[in-house]
Symmetry: C2
Subunit: 374 residues, 2 copies
Amino acid sequence: MGSKRLDRRTLLKAAMIGPGAAVAAGGEALAAPPRITGLPDISWRLQSSFPATLDTIYGAAEAMARSAAILTGGRFRIEIAPPDRYVPAGQALDAVSAGSVQALQTCSYYHVDRDPAFAFGSALPFGLNARMQDAWIVEGGGGPLLDGLYAQYGLTSLVAGNTGAQMGGWFRKEIRSLPEMAGLKMRIAGLGGMVLARLGVEPQELAIESAYAALDDGWLDAAEWSGPYEDEQLGFYKVAPYYYYPGWWDGGPSIHLLINRAAFEALPETYKEALRASAAQARHEMQARYDVRNNTAIRSLIDKGVQLRPFPTDILEAAYKASFELYAELAAAHPRFKAIYEPWKGFRDQIYQSFRVAEYSFESFGFTQQAKGH
Amino acid sequence: MGSKRLDRRTLLKAAMIGPGAAVAAGGEALAAPPRITGLPDISWRLQSSFPATLDTIYGAAEAMARSAAILTGGRFRIEIAPPDRYVPAGQALDAVSAGSVQALQTCSYYHVDRDPAFAFGSALPFGLNARMQDAWIVEGGGGPLLDGLYAQYGLTSLVAGNTGAQMGGWFRKEIRSLPEMAGLKMRIAGLGGMVLARLGVEPQELAIESAYAALDDGWLDAAEWSGPYEDEQLGFYKVAPYYYYPGWWDGGPSIHLLINRAAFEALPETYKEALRASAAQARHEMQARYDVRNNTAIRSLIDKGVQLRPFPTDILEAAYKASFELYAELAAAHPRFKAIYEPWKGFRDQIYQSFRVAEYSFESFGFTQQAKGH
């Protein structure tokens, strides 16, 4: 994009052949919104699915609340609380649907037991990376589809973060091929666990703190949580030294605010915009923090003797096949899943192709050269 | 990240070993900012380096202004204008430094003739992709370095967009190897042009509308602008059918607002936050729109007979080598360039490595499978 000056007239002419033709040639003053005075004091309760110790993600909710307060001169206050503070974590979605808590910072796919279509809000195995997920929601048709889903539960949503592609978890022993997965007990939930079950793994939905002890005494063989920064905090490297990648079930999960729909609709437009804009800030900053902190943490883990391993190709291939078989079955059984799956899959296949052109070739060449020491 | 519930107590304990230990275990109410009344009416002028026909980028500035107005009850108004409206485009940076125009929507690297360090705000050949660029600025040390640079010119800045990796431009003839680049006249500016000059190309800084005619009558051999969506609007495919990738000089250029520093500092905190938050929205939405629109456009271009070609490896290798030789020379000649280059290069090398683990392996496997028709 190497021009310092463009001739507007010529570009206007050029644009007549393209999709830009419908856009007004700009410069006119924007219509002023009505001046607003006397905004109400509103106080919301936001419960997070994540404890405050996970500072990248929980801190993003705190930053959002801070931003919303600044933007409204202190009139719109959002109190942030960790799991179980306002309501038991397992009842948080219902509490937000009912409006006793106004918002939940969560991963949409934590709620697939309720409705498998909730997976599309976050990530599906071999689905979208973080940027594709945003593209799908903002401009690729995903936003209205998700909004229709959440509306069924009295909810609306804002994307308010992403972790990027996660790691594939911690294994006590090295796994060299697909047959070695059979019978492994692995702590993993959701669609990733359902896919792994088709590969012979016995997925375990135990809480993360039980996983550490269970790995330590050998009852559990593997466990996954997130990426290097948070995984290092959780300490798994001390009991399961093989650290696999990628987390193919978590290629770029969005972090959402799920919000009581009536409460959101009742907000003054200024407060709605304050939520939207501060959620976008959270999205921007959370990803950046994960990327930098994961970079530091993966080096620290390697220094501690962690063995990084890519998943063997036969495992990835079997998981890929099992994933799309699972989606076909879910689509057959759940009309709401099907209604989102079909356009999602079309989007995913197309954007995989277009990312391969400039984006992926830029990275591939640079990564290869850098790895050679150039 | 497959847990629906976390035990907070255990995570707190686990966090004691990690960087999260310093973070307070949360849930307490956020301190309320002082309640603000009687905010002033403020009107700003923002000139864009881009014409309104480039609707993805220009539209992001309009959306920002709209958001800032909503957030301030109509009191903070930003008038958006295309190049040359308030001041001639070539004088826009000076006008913002002087404060006669408050803000410029631009690429920082359009101003490398002034100071080569401006390149770091956008992109350098074989530099950061879009997400790495955000990570560097938000959390990787780049933000303060850029702020120090811009302060020298009376400016401050906000990231307010990104295009993602761009294409490598349009060529009248197929280029099969490095020797065929020698003597080519190509419309390309900035550091990309300086690198190509070292490969024997004769970079031309002519305006984009002259490029079309010059390609048509054969005086010019090649021209680059951006990605498929905008390139299609500009019509180059009609006169130069070979479309090369990647744009290795534009791996993920930020779009910036460069803002008069004193004007920004004089804003009430609410208005500063309105700018920050609406810039983050612009960042989020612009990338999503480019990704979706580029996907549509590249299919349309192929339907029109465009020949997609990756740059031959010997060209990429020579360009890579020439780029880092150029940076060493710029660092030797320009202390401000050097002061940013050294930490930037360290960050770039490290984050290339960490992205190769989960992020790149996730994409590589998925893209390969999808390309096989799975």
